[in-house]
């Protein structure tokens, strides 16, 4: 069963067409990697999936769990189980991580008609995840991403992934700017998330993350369309030969 189904997707940003007829199916329980050169449309794909304002769908359809997603508000997509790990997570000064995460968890719980977790339970589960990700639990008291290093921000994104436990995780260059140890920690987090019920769309510029998080399918995105798909070996080939042989 496909969780994500993208058909003939055309997207423009600021009047410029970036995605030009993209097709993609991601089935439950799988990890798909999207690779491609700079400017090929990788981040545009991530943002349009999450419903970021300014990303205009000119043609085509995005289906999530069978529902058409094109005009759905970002928070509704999130509540339906679509998660985006940001390439550059922004700071929200004055709003503590604790308050932010609790608001997120509560709004998802409310949307699912479930009960809200108590503050005590909540703090317990966050601390557990934070420890696994090498984040000092003291970070909960600080403002969202406030004064965080690049690596801390990315680990905070993975923490949110594990805490919110979505159906689809779109990771937008989560590996960029990470040293080797942080990369391993982030990869462990992603591996911990993957299971038979959810799926992952891993957007990356480099092959190295794929050594740690082994994808089921690798796609090459070039000039707004997927030009090649293959198994995990494709990533290795790309690392050796670059993208030029596919795009020329």
């Amino acid at each position: 069963m496909n969780i994500l189904e993208i058909k003939d997707l055309h997207v423009s940003v600021g009047g410029e067409q970036i995605l030009k007829g993209l097709n993609l199916s991601v089935e439950q329980g799988s990890v798909h990697a999207i690779m491609g050169p700079n400017g090929s449309g990788k981040s545009t794909l991530a943002n349009v999936l999450a419903g970021k304002p300014g990303y205009v769908i000119d043609r085509g359809e995005i289906h999530f769990d069978g529902d058409l997603l094109n005009d759905v508000d970002p928070e509704v997509r999130a509540r339906a189980g679509l998660f985006l790990a940001f390439q550059y997570p922004v700071e929200i000064p004055g709003v503590s991580n604790m308050e932010f995460l609790k608001a997120a968890v509560d709004s998802l719980a409310a949307a699912r008609g479930g009960e809200q977790t108590t503050a005590v339970e909540f703090v317990k589960s966050v601390r557990k995840i934070a420890t696994a990700l090498d984040l000092n639990p003291e970070f909960l008291k600080r403002g969202v991403n406030e004064g965080f290093s690049g690596g801390e921000r990315k680990r905070n994104e993975i923490l949110q992934l594990l805490l919110l436990n979505p159906r689809l995780a779109v990771l937008d260059e989560t590996d960029s700017g990470l040293d080797i140890d942080a990369m391993q920690t982030v990869a462990d987090g992603i591996n911990r998330f993957r299971d038979a019920h959810n799926c992952v769309l891993l957007i990356t510029h480099y092959q190295r993350l794929l050594n740690h998080v082994v994808p089921d399918v690798v796609h090459v995105l070039s000039d707004g369309v997927i030009v090649k798909s293959g198994e995990k070996d494709l990533a290795v080939t790309l690392e050796e030969r670059g993208y030029a042989w596919l795009t020329d």
């Binding site: 999450a50 419903g51 970021k52 304002p53 508000d73 970002p74 928070e75 997509r77 999130a78 509540r79 998660f83 985006l84 940001f86 997570p89 922004v90 700071e91 929200i92 000064p93 004055g94 709003v95 503590s96 308050e99 932010f100 608001a103 997120a104 709004s107 998802l108 949307a111 403002g143 969202v144 949110q160 919110l164």
Partner: protein, 484 residues
């Protein structure tokens, strides 16, 4: 949804109470001043004092230096006195209060029945004594007897004039002189009612004191006057709240508040100002032109102003402290939120006269819609104020792309021993921040309210508990529908 999609909020206190009032016809001359004074059966000295103020006011012109724009006010079109009719003889108990009026306060969530709290039923505002001013008169003061046991006087100022004339005469106009400024002079001439507080030496006031101001009548100005005296070594925390009905015309509110802190005394004055701000097109709303000033007269005295300003079409207000006593302390914590077409020009003055005097100013301005929000502050260190210190922090937060934030700090230092620090920041609620919140399932309104509350944290923690909760909710309501 970009941040720009700001739409107006609903004003929940905007209802009108249908009540029979005795209202003076519009216009102001000496006979109006005499009428008000006569109505209150005031002693001659006070009538004369009012007439002096009236004469001074006639010769003055409204200030034009504030960063606000509005059509000149026609002072002849305002009525200077309005009172619910059946108070002619003054209510002696709540049973005599018009039930319609009681319902007004129920709607506003203000308890007028003190027995409910006395009986141990926990309500929203436990242990708060309330004085309520409706249009021009004080309606009721709760917990009077309990306060009297501690020697605390808390009553309408009109009553204090009768019962404690020596205190009123000694302090009235000593902090804000009659001719201090145009609106203060007007208030001195026509002030109708307000609260009077006296805390005797060494007494810690056993409960929070609170006044609730409500403008109801049409085309009426509200000119209340508050006088608080904390005698040596005493302490009082005082809360002030305000609302008004939604009306198409602008209404004038020109109050004067005077605080006096003697040796080792402390006054904490908190305001949650929620006057009607006008509609989304800028029609109607209160002109809030208020003079608030405290005098730290005694050594080691302390006056602390905390204000949360969300209402009014125009706010012109600078709660100040004159630090005369050595080692005295002045504080100003402010949140001013403007939305739609609101304009605020607010801040403080810290006048350092005594040695080792300290002042702290924390100002948070939030501008949304097409509003303009200005901080204006003066820190003056006189040659006598050896070792004076001031710390000022003023932060502005912009929501959307059509609002303005302005800062006008004035620093006048005449003492080389003084230490003065000033920090200022301007930030914006960005589309990126909102999108991050939305992507985590938090809707945009909740996100903005979280961000704004976080921004105001330093000020909210200065508010008494009951008010902190109210203030947080108020910001949420004022921003309601702020995001499309």
């Amino acid at each position: 949804m970009p941040v720009e999609d700001l739409v107006p909020s609903e004003y929940s206190a905007g209802f009108v109470t249908d009540i029979e009032s005795e209202t003076l016809p519009p216009g102001l001359d000496e006979s109006v001043v005499r009428f008000i004074s006569g109505k209150k059966q005031e002693p001659q000295w006070l009538t004369d004092w009012r007439l002096q103020a009236y004469a001074a006011w006639r010769a003055m012109t409204p200030p034009t230096w504030a960063h606000v724009h509005f059509k000149p006010i026609d002072f002849e079109s305002i009525s200077y006195y309005s009172a619910p009719k059946n108070f002619e003889d003054g209510p002696t108990s709540l049973d005599e209060v018009d039930p319609e009026l009681l319902r007004t306060y129920e709607k506003l969530g203000i308890p007028l029945h003190e027995q409910e709290t006395l009986a141990g039923v926990v309500r929203q505002t436990p242990n708060v004594a309330v004085d309520v001013v409706f249009d021009s008169v004080s309606i009721t003061t709760t917990f009077k007897e309990k306060l009297a046991e501690a020697g605390v006087i808390f009553c309408p100022i009109s009553e204090a004039v009768q019962e404690h004339p020596e205190l009123v005469q000694k302090y009235l106009g000593t902090v804000v002189p009659q001719r201090d400024n145009f609106y203060a002079a007007l208030n001195s001439a026509v002030f109708s009612d307000g609260s009077f507080v006296y805390i005797p030496p060494g007494v810690r006031c056993p409960m929070e004191l609170s006044t609730y101001f409500r403008i109801n009548a049409q085309n009426t100005g509200q000119f209340e006057r508050t006088l608080i005296i904390a005698d040596a070594g005493s302490y009082v925390s005082y809360l002030e709240g305000c609302t008004a009905p939604m009306r198409d015309e602008n209404q004038l509110h020109a109050a004067v508040v005077e605080l006096v802190a003697l040796e080792d005394a402390q006054i904490k004055y908190s305001t949650v100002q929620n006057w009607y701000p006008g509609d989304k097109d800028g029609k109607g709303g209160i002109y809030n032109f208020v003079t608030k000033r405290g005098a730290c007269r005694g050594a080691r005295s302390k006056i602390s102003w905390t204000q949360v300003e969300t209402g009014s079409a125009i706010t012109w207000k600078y709660p100040s402290v004159i630090l005369r006593g050595d080692d005295s302390v002045g504080e100003f914590y402010s949140v001013a939120l403007t939305n739609n077409y609101q304009q605020a020009d607010t801040g403080t003055k810290m006048i350092h006269l005594g040695k080792n005097t300290k002042s702290t100013i924390i100002s948070k301005g939030i501008s949304a819609g097409k509003s303009q929000n200005s901080y204006r502050g003066l820190v003056r260190i006189s040659p006598t104020a050896d070792g004076a210190r001031n710390y000022t922090q003023c932060d502005s937060l912009l929501i959307g792309g059509n609002s303005g934030a302005h800062t006008f700090p004035y620093i006048e230092n005449k003492n080389l021993n003084a230490i003065i620090e000033h920090e200022a920041t301007t930030s914006k609620v960005s589309d990126e921040q909102l999108f991050l919140c939305q992507q985590r399932g938090i809707d945009a309104e909740k996100a903005v309210s979280m961000i704004v509350n976080g921004f105001c944290k330093d000020v909210f923690r200065e508010l008494p508990m009951e008010f902190a909760v109210e203030a947080g909710k108020l910001l949420e309501v004022s921003l309601e529908g702020a995001i499309g």
